[in-house]
Point group: C2
């Protein structure tokens, strides 16, 4: 997916959010916003939104003088999600279709995205859980997902945000954990999950967890470590959580299932869905490549 | 009211909207957005949002090469509002409290504001009318407003947007029209009403209509004509419609009633209300001045 000009106002807002997370000093808020405006006015908008976001958040971290401006808000949502964990696990165990319920809850967790909005409240998270448990959902995609999981030998689960990663754990528990490797970001960016959040979620006790070596808010392959790129290449199924991973991987010819909540109009338009919709979707780009190979045979 | 950094993402979005209203050329869209980003990065954020908006929209008009980029969308909402006019007029005539109903409808019309959102649909306008007719409303302010209208000798009604001006007509019809002068903008800016829109609304047939000589999206007194400023000074009651007029006049020591729908979080915070609330409010600044004078006597 390519960047749209509509993303730029959002970047400016993110800059202001990040500055406010770390200081009450209005002079610094103004400096951060103005420098981001200047940077954005010279950037190459043909890059994907996470590539631009990576550059902007590097500048923000430098200007506010903090390695991880969103750390507090990440801790807060890890704690909120942990409080809900047992209850959500019971929903899954007691449901008629545990894998489907786990996917629905993993999508609900994707509401914890400070790239899209910085004003999430606990009540909104609980409402989203309710909506995602009850909302419409594609049976066809779920069937394809179940089959892909059964067929796979090496599954990479690309995590998205802190807090959300607790919801991801619920889905990961329904997968063949011996085949699963969870991937977090190599460095802090927005509220994306890093190894610290994977530890809070207790993931290393049930699966292998690695980091991708990058501070991009998505999976920007050229910015990831060589070690991660090899794992990515070798995996025969990739489960990619959240908007950032969709934006960076939707044009990559791999067997990927995207799991997300379409939270902004730009993403919704690209996906051909309504804002707020639950998405579990196989990479269309991969389907096209498979079709081309089969036609050639 | 002073500008808040939160307004800047909105200015960037307005730039993109305006560019898209006039051309499908993505190169021009990008140029407009980037130039506005650059301008915003150097501007004095101590000015009020409409002062910044005035500068940005001058740049936008220059870049897109059109005197009035929003003309089409202004015509569209004038037409939509005209279709609703008779029905709304009947609501007022048949209601138990015609002045209150007229104020409610004038507030509903304030939803037609392309400074806040460019995606208004006819159905949203109709929903807003329904909500405003049924929603909670301050009796105290309405009583004060009725009294102020009865007491006044020279009333200036500062109109806000095209389309909305048809709704304003409904309220103006309930006022002592011989004492009322309606004021529109001197030059196009966003979808603010100019003389063309006052003519479409049929206002010159019932009241005096003047323009303020300015292209500011509000009432920036130092940018208005001398003729308007004299009228403003001499008026003993000013009815100021919309967010832009609130932003530019809330610190002026005049007898002003602001009528608007609080559509963005920045305005809502300043007013101490929720986003979406209906506002009919006497200028607090004027009350304070009157108190000071009375204390001195």
């Amino acid at each position: 997916m390519k960047i749209y000009l509509d993303c730029i106002p959002c970047f400016v807002r993110q800059a202001l959010d990040a500055a406010r997370f770390v200081t009450d000093d209005a002079i610094i808020h103004e400096q951060v916003v103005k420098q981001v405006l200047r940077m954005a006015s010279y950037m190459d908008i043909r890059e994907s939104p996470p590539v631009i976001g990576q550059q902007i958040h590097r500048l923000i971290r430098e200007l506010v003088g903090l390695y991880d401006p969103y750390r507090q808000v990440k801790n807060r949502f890890n704690n909120e999600a942990l409080k809900l964990y047992s209850k959500m696990r019971n929903y899954i165990i007691e449901s008629a279709n545990p894998l489907e319920t786990a996917v629905r809850l993993a999508i609900a967790g994707n509401i914890i995205d400070f790239g899209v909005s910085s004003t999430l409240e606990k009540s909104a998270l609980e409402n989203t859980i309710r909506e995602c448990l009850a909302g419409e959902f594609s049976d066809i995609q779920l069937k394809a997902f179940r089959q892909a999981v059964n067929d796979a030998e090496q599954i990479l689960y690309l995590a998205d945000n802190a807090g959300e990663i607790i919801f991801d754990r619920l889905l990961i528990e329904r997968l063949p954990v011996e085949k699963v490797t969870v991937v977090v970001k190599g460095e802090p960016v927005i509220n994306d999950a890093t190894m610290e959040d994977a530890l809070v979620a207790g993931l290393p006790q049930i699966v292998e967890v690695i980091d991708n070596g990058s501070d991009g808010p998505g999976t920007i392959l050229q910015s990831c470590s060589e070690a991660f790129r090899i794992r990515f290449e070798n995996a025969d199924l990739i489960i990619a959580k959240g908007q950032g991973n969709y934006e960076t991987l939707s044009d990559i010819g791999k067997n990927i299932f995207f799991i997300l909540k379409a939270k902004c109009p730009v993403i919704a338009e690209d996906l051909g869905c309504e804002v707020g919709e639950m998405i579990l979707r196989k990479n269309e780009c991969f389907n096209e490549i498979v079709d081309l190979i089969q036609e050639g045979e």
